[in-house]
Amino acid sequence: MSMSEESFIESTLRGFARAFSKALISEQAASQPGLLQSFDPRVRLVGVMGLAISTVLCRKLAVIAALMVLAILLAIASRLSVWSLARRVWFAVLGFTGLIALPAVFITPGSRIVLAPVLHLSISASGVRTAALLVLRVETTATLTTVLVLCTPWAHILRALRSLRMPAEIVTMLAMTHRYVFLLIETANQMFESRLSRTVGKLTGPEKRRMTARTAGVLLSKSVELSHEVYLAMLSRGFDGEVRVLNDFRLKAHDYLGLTGFACAAGLAIWMGR
């Protein structure tokens, strides 16, 4: 590790702070007025998921590109920052999926369009198309789901999932995972802060690794202890193995209109992208 020991601890702390600020930004985006925010959470969930599924089913690049444009328009109409989407989703997806799709450019049989310099590998038209299809598909579905998550408070997504008959056990697991990830981040943050306040001089590479391993170990044992305590707290308030969730959503005319719009767009994309 080339970082100084101070920057090692501080950069970890900055990482924790980033996680919290991202959650805060998501909450702010979800609470501001916008197109997607104006729909019932169930409409948002079904509509955006419908578009994502139609993206996966599409085989034509132009149709997927149109869905991507639709996703960007949805983001703009919902007052999300396109630059923030690019940083959160597009660059990361391009790096990751691009790496996976890259070999397809060279190994997919088809008419050669260019010979790659140095490596002397031929690039086929069908290879480029396959790679572009994969990258664009992942970019579009990732953009759609990010727009959904940014425009909908986590609690509403969970309630919408439950009202759409997702098993209560799965919804509860998702809710508790989200809740306690933050608690454990907070705990880890305090551990690193306490370490920072007592660190004088340089830490060697092995010491940094030991510190990270110890933190992970302590967090693991804390999470085991916490899970037992949480279970007791649930029992104390009447948990009997069955999860019950309050559903107070009501669909309005505007929601039906939105749902029809999503259904038309998804249906048209599937039909045109056959």
Partner: protein, 271 residues
């Protein structure tokens, strides 16, 4: 209250240990219905464990516990009807609010108990609204727990139990992490329950609130009750408080003479 009436809790000679480490030893007590009792003891004296046993969350290795005349055992709580009745009547506020806040938002948290106890939707919405207002946390309704301060978490944890309006309230260090104003509001709330028939058992080591929240004090040390009495009797017994680690010997000098005496921080109006 008479000796022959059925007590809220009757605990007979119980022991409990955590993987071989004794937490409760030969403890017996009786808590009458409508009584306000404070379990006073230093950290590690067994107060929290006793509250968990009274809430049917863990069970003694030996001895017996009964609630309203019915045995409180794993078998009895496995019967759905009895479990539901017991959970409707008794509720525990945990010392660490983080273990109690496992729902996505404050609203969901407070609605959790009523939902599990199968209240109607209308009742849940009404009672949750009332409880939010009572605890002064209506503005936090849609907030996730990780965005609450320590004091706010404690208030929400309390609200999540108060919404059930239980006959028996078990409070584990309820004033810890609360600011002075919130502490005083909570003490006022417990004082309001006096004479309403609610049984309130509060575990605490804060001497300055026990006179307000309890009619009887049980002093605990090393997993057993070492003394019982009214708040004025217990608070006047400095030797007992010193033995139970509830006060410390304050060492100071008057000129050349250094001496020490038991020391506590009383209410401002006591001074």
């Amino acid at each position: 209250m008479t000796e022959t009436s059925t007590p809220a809790f009757e605990v007979n000679d119980i022991t409990f240990d955590y993987e071989g480490i004794p937490a409760i030893r030969g403890l017996s007590l009786r808590i009458e219905k409508g009584e306000r009792v404070a379990l006073l003891g230093a950290n590690g004296s067994g107060k929290s464990t006793l509250l968990r046993i009274l809430d049917g969350l863990c069970f003694p290795t030996t001895g017996s516990v009964s609630f309203a005349g019915n045995p409180l055992t794993p078998e009895s709580l496995r019967r759905n009807g009895y479990a539901l009745t017991f959970r409707r009547q008794a509720a525990l506020v945990f010392q660490n609010p983080d273990v109690q806040l496992f729902n996505p938002t404050v609203f969901d948290e407070i609605a959790y108990g009523p939902l599990q106890l199968r209240w109607s939707k209308e009742d849940i919405l009404r009672r949750v609204g009332e409880t939010l207002a009572l605890m002064g946390i209506s503005h936090l309704k849609e907030r996730p727990s990780y965005r609450l301060s320590g004091g706010e978490k404690k208030r929400v944890a309390l609200a999540s139990v108060l919404v059930l309006n239980p006959e028996v309230l078990l409070l584990d260090e309820p004033t810890v992490t609360l600011d002075p104003r919130s502490q005083s509001q909570l003490v006022d709330l417990i004082q309001q329950w006096k004479g309403t028939g609610k049984t309130v058992v509060t575990a605490t080591h804060q001497l300055d609130i026990v006179e307000d929240i309890a009619d009887r004090i049980l002093v605990m040390e090393a997993g057993t009750v070492i003394a019982a009495g009214t708040p004025s009797e217990i608070l006047a017994d400095h030797a007992l408080l010193l033995r139970a680690n509830l006060v410390h010997a304050h060492r100071h000098a008057h000129g050349n003479i250094v001496h020490s005496h038991p020391h506590r921080h009383p209410h401002s109006h006591d001074v």
